[in-house]
């Protein structure tokens, strides 16, 4: 029964785009070298290609002669309810959708997006991890996965206004830029709002916050529920159109950014009437174009910094040069790179919703161990990121490994060094 629901969804998802990639796989296993969860567990089932196995089986058995023959001869079984439960572990506990594996695949298969399709099937069949299901429900009801309400955001905006001694613009019609924050900031580092506000003001950008579209987070994307994804993204779309903004600026959220940039236009079936930009890109552009001047070497103060490339912002967003430009100006030679970095960087281990799955704590921390090694090799005592989710993973990871390494956000560093 469950299996049937999942298979129907797989079949629905299978266009030529998916099928031709499934057909290209040579089953060489090289993608395993990329995956931090495979590395951390050593279990072959965590090899990226195995996470796609359900989709491959569904596709072959439904659409190809070979697949049908395999089932008829008993070489391969149809997908069962137990399979769905089993793969829920591989695809949700053991994948952060980080996209690193597709850079290793010799055939160039975009494995992570295929895993996304498997996740969608598992979710449709009702076997997504309870933690994610809960957060999705809460976000659909309140607007944020942690239950932060309109009132909570209003209070945060008011508090920050008071602190900054100036009224922050909220739902200002005709503003150029709508700034979209996340529930992670409200809960974990509310000062990020101060930092971003300072940067936008210094660059003389006409911007606004909104109490309608409040949270860039999109649990629909994470869990693979297309309807929820659309419902949540619609909210942003409608608000942006109502306010008449030219740009939606996503603060430190990765999947929220790629959802709006890459997925929303396809859900809408037409290009968006506004630009979607990530703050990590804007910061670099402002500095590069001389719109903001920074006090060079402001953070060359004895600390050693390293930059964490987030999967959705840097690797999948392509925003790799801009944050480095800023950090280089701020920290000079005390900025050290981890290896590998940029698009080949390894994930922090906390993406793809893993932080909301308590059962995945051990594997998530084991994968973070790889990051700890890299940080140590880079000789850094402070990690800088442009993603709030990564930032929390680093915070929890450092606690788990009992390290006094620090993690901070690039916007917060940059806002302190602005030359008026």
């Amino acid at each position: 029964m469950q299996a049937e629901t999942a298979i129907n969804l797989f079949v629905k998802k299978t266009g030529g785009w998916v099928a031709s990639q499934l057909e290209a796989c040579t089953r060489c296993g090289l993608c395993a070298t990329a995956c931090h969860y495979y590395e951390a567990t050593g279990k072959p089932e965590f090899a990226p290609v195995w996470k796609v196995e359900l989709l491959r089986r569904a596709y072959e058995q439904r659409f190809t002669l070979v697949g049908k023959a395999k089932v008829a001869m008993g070489i391969e079984k149809p997908i069962s309810d137990d399979d769905i439960k089993e793969w829920s572990v591989y695809d949700f506990h053991g994948c952060s959708m980080c996209n690193k594996c597709s850079f290793v695949c010799p055939m160039g298969i975009d494995i992570a997006s295929l895993i996304g399709a498997v996740r969608a099937g598992i979710t449709a069949a009702g076997e997504a991890p309870a933690g994610l299901v809960k957060k999705t429900e809460v976000q659909l009801a309140t607007g944020s996965p942690n239950g932060a309400t309109r009132e909570d955001y209003a209070a945060w905006f008011a508090r920050t206004s008071k602190e900054m001694g100036k009224e922050l613009p909220v739902d200002k019609k005709g503003a150029h830029t709508l700034l979209l924050l996340t529930n992670l900031e409200i809960a974990g580092f509310p000062n990020n709002l101060v930092a971003i506000a300072k940067i936008l003001d210094a660059a003389k950008i006409d911007w606004t916050l909104s109490l309608e579209a409040r949270d860039a987070f999109n649990m629909g994307t994470i869990i693979g529920n297309g309807k929820a994804m659309k419902q949540l993204a619609d909210k942003v779309y409608n608000t942006a159109v109502d306010l008449g903004v030219k740009r939606v600026l996503v603060s430190c959220c990765g999947h929220g950014y790629t959802t709006l940039r890459d997925k929303l236009p396809n859900v809408m079936g037409k290009p968006l009437p506004f630009e979607v930009q990530h703050i990590a890109e804007l910061m670099g552009v402002l500095v590069r174009d001389g719109k903001i001047k920074l006090q060079e070497g402001y953070f060359a103060n004895g600390h050693t910094y390293t930059f964490h490339d987030s999967c959705k912002i840097q690797r999948a967003g392509g925003i790799m040069d801009e944050p480095r430009l800023v950090l280089r100006q701020l920290a000079g030679d005390s900025f050290h790179e981890m290896l590998p970095n940029r698009k080949e960087a390894i994930c922090c281990g906390g993406g793809g919703g893993l932080r909301a799955i308590p059962e995945a704590y051990d594997i998530r921390m084991a994968a973070f161990g790889l990051k700890v090694d890299q940080i140590k090799k880079a000789g850094a005592d402070t990690v800088v990121t442009t993603c709030s989710n990564c930032r929390l993973q680093f915070k929890e990871g450092f606690e788990h490994y009992k390290l006094d390494t620090q993690v901070t956000g690039l916007a917060e560093l940059m806002s302190q060094a602005i030359v008026e």
Partner: protein, 225 residues
């Protein structure tokens, strides 16, 4: 048994029939995948899609171990790179740059091209055969590969190995009379041609899809694929 008559059959009617099945089968696969439909991408590109595709194919070819983006994976699974690389290199050299095979192409296409000296082709054929033997051992012993391999994967290996080993036996006049070895070589080639469209060996066609898709998807994001 009249081996000469059998050879004529495997080189003639059976070969052409197999070739037809191969072509029809591949066209069927292509159409079957294309019929599933393609959505138009509505998102705004940050970078050049065409540039991404070019880089994607270049990266697909540049798989030498000292290249930075290969290094990490190479160090973890060198056998797959070396044995797999030698196997494909040998395979392509033999079927495109070996004189006897070029002549087959010439009879089919109507034009030929310069080929490499026999000893050179011969050494690459040996490399390919050794590569394949290493690959099958690796596939049986490595935990990930074992998990990924079912009967279909082993049969793929076998049906590609047979033409290679029989071709080698034939050119070196080992074990069998020449026309016997030649017949066996042709028989295995004919069977491989029939088998390919129904198997994962058709990856050589879908390679061009997956590499193109990758180039478009990542070129769009201004990331080198």
């Amino acid at each position: 048994m009249d081996w000469n008559a059998f050879l004529a059959f495997t080189r003639g009617p059976l070969f052409y029939a197999s070739l037809l099945i191969f072509i029809a089968g591949m066209v069927y696969r292509l159409v079957q995948v294309a019929m599933l439909g393609w959505d138009k991408d509505q998102s705004v590109a940050r970078g050049s899609k065409a540039g991404g595709v070019v880089k994607s194919f270049l990266k697909g070819i540049l798989i030498l171990p000292f290249i930075p983006w290969i290094k990490g994976a190479f160090q973890k699974r060198p056998i797959m790179y070396i044995a797999g690389g030698l196997f494909h290199l040998g395979l392509f050299t033999v079927i495109f740059l070996g004189t006897p095979h070029m002549l087959v192409w010439k009879s089919l296409l109507g034009f030929g091209w310069p080929t490499l000296a026999l000893p050179f082709v011969d050494w690459l054929a040996v490399a390919a055969i050794i590569g394949m033997l290493v690959l099958i051992v690796y596939r049986r012993t490595d935990a990930v590969l074992r998990l990924l391999s079912g009967p279909a994967e082993y049969l793929n290996w076998l049906f590609v190995f047979l033409p290679m080993i029989s071709g080698y036996i034939m050119t070196h006049h080992l074990f069998f009379r020449y026309e016997v070895a030649y017949s066996l070589h042709m028989l295995s080639v004919d069977w491989m041609l029939i088998w390919i469209p129904f198997s994962r060996i058709s990856h050589f066609m879908f390679y061009f899809f997956s590499r193109t898709i990758r180039g478009v998807e990542w070129g769009k994001r201004a990331v080198t694929p």
